[in-house]
Symmetry: C2
Subunit: 305 residues, 2 copies
Amino acid sequence: MNLSSRQIDAFLALAVSLSFTRAAAQCHLSQPAFSALIRSLEEGLGLRLFDRSTRHVSLTSEGEDFLVAARRIRIEMDAALSSMKSTASLERGRVSIALLPSLSAGWLPNVLRQYRSAHPGIEISIADVLSEPCIELVASSKADFALAAVRVDTPELCASPFCSDGFHLVCRRDHPLAKISLTTGHGARTTSQLSALAAWPFIHMARHSSVRQYLEAAFHPQVMRTVMEVEQLATVAGMVRAGLGISVIPTLTAFHFKHPDLITRPLPLPGLTRQIYLVRRRDRGLSVAAQALHDHIVHHRPPSE
Amino acid sequence: MNLSSRQIDAFLALAVSLSFTRAAAQCHLSQPAFSALIRSLEEGLGLRLFDRSTRHVSLTSEGEDFLVAARRIRIEMDAALSSMKSTASLERGRVSIALLPSLSAGWLPNVLRQYRSAHPGIEISIADVLSEPCIELVASSKADFALAAVRVDTPELCASPFCSDGFHLVCRRDHPLAKISLTTGHGARTTSQLSALAAWPFIHMARHSSVRQYLEAAFHPQVMRTVMEVEQLATVAGMVRAGLGISVIPTLTAFHFKHPDLITRPLPLPGLTRQIYLVRRRDRGLSVAAQALHDHIVHHRPPSE
DNA sequence: CGATCTTACGGGATTCGTAAACATA
DNA sequence: TATGTTTACGAATCCCGTAAGATCG
């Protein structure tokens, strides 16, 4: 038999009010339609649930048994419906994203603050890791989507361009490079600018970082004077401030280097543009909460350079 | 929104099989109809529950949440439906009746044995008490119906004739009355028969018993030679056997007096017929189990005299 | 006779199944 | 191309509301 929530509601309304007329009104039905609904329930169960005469309505013995069962069904239905409703309306939910530290520290917080104030009930999980683990997290469904510097295109994953990020030179305020102008150039002009930079002791990021990859490719075949390799941008800042060398860092992370002793300047060299992709699974759509964050993030994507 | 068991079943079938075609067959629906059912559920909830392409079907994040809720709803529904089904089919239930001891000891057991073998799962409660408490139990809904010697007719209760019960003389085999013939009589004949009985020492039931009431009325205005008043028929039997007196007992209880030392003989006197009524509440119908017992009892009612 | 539940019935919405269109591996 | 989902659409069914009927106090 088919048992509908309307039948349950009708039964409960009648069991409480013990009046077809009032219960019908409560269910927003005409009284005959309501009567038919109760009858269909009774026929489906094969039992009379109410003793009724024109003047009196009361639960039968079987109706009393069904009352407790109907209440339990109603409770489960209400729980399911309200849970789904709050999920659909973004009152509750969870979303997990993975993205580069360069994005997570500077650009993300403000964007996320807006999202959170709009949907305070949604739990957010952030994995601020390098591109490779970002992809891993999405591939293993531990993250809903990722912002990473790798264009993946597998049966499982796909990437779409998200934004492009330039690079900034960073050096001490008293460094000779702080004075010279860096302009967009082509050919020989570019080569000479690269030479000017390559001449100075350089603080590098670790080899597996996308920043390092881009720099190696852009400066090739020039050999750079690597002073050291570090993992964290904060360490780069400290080293440069101590006068151990210069560095080149993504524009998105330039805010880390706002310091009286330091200068950051755009490095508008061709090829020195890091592309950042939004990576997601091919098969699964995003959850409601993830889709909302996705839309919000895309809407507030950083300015591309 | 309206949530039906068909939607729940469709969702669960699809969540398990992850194939519209197979799930549709399982639900005895054409595949497009099944697809529409799933869509109606998703639209009702305002959420996509499945990610589907032509080659792959999988639960969304929200669908996984709904899966646990749907299972709980299904469990409650199944519990309710199976409980109601077993009640309707008389596999389970309870029935409570009140009836006179004269009926409960002799006639009832065999009738009840048949009922019980047909419906072994139904709990039966018997109150073998005198007419007044019988009525009380029905009036207070502690008994579904009663068999008693009182014709009640109140706003709450109504009585219908059930059977009529004659009376038997009981005396020792060596008693003078054991020899004489007792025939149906009228007028003077009756009076003389009554006189013949009233002459002997008599073992009476207590004043509040219906048997005593009938005897007092039938013998009036003759004065009986009351030896003693007792409560139980078994005591009457013992007293008569000891030669302390004779007695008159309902035909339905005559089996109590089958003893080598005793004689029981019908007492076909006009007015000496006890009417037994089936008493039930006016407002409430009988439960399924009670109705079945009612029908069975009426069908096997004792032969009226 | 008044209040209330049931039956009767016409119109409208829902739902079904068949067939065609569409999408993916 | 083959499998499987969605769309299109006519037909059957279900459901609702109005109106009339029945029943009890």
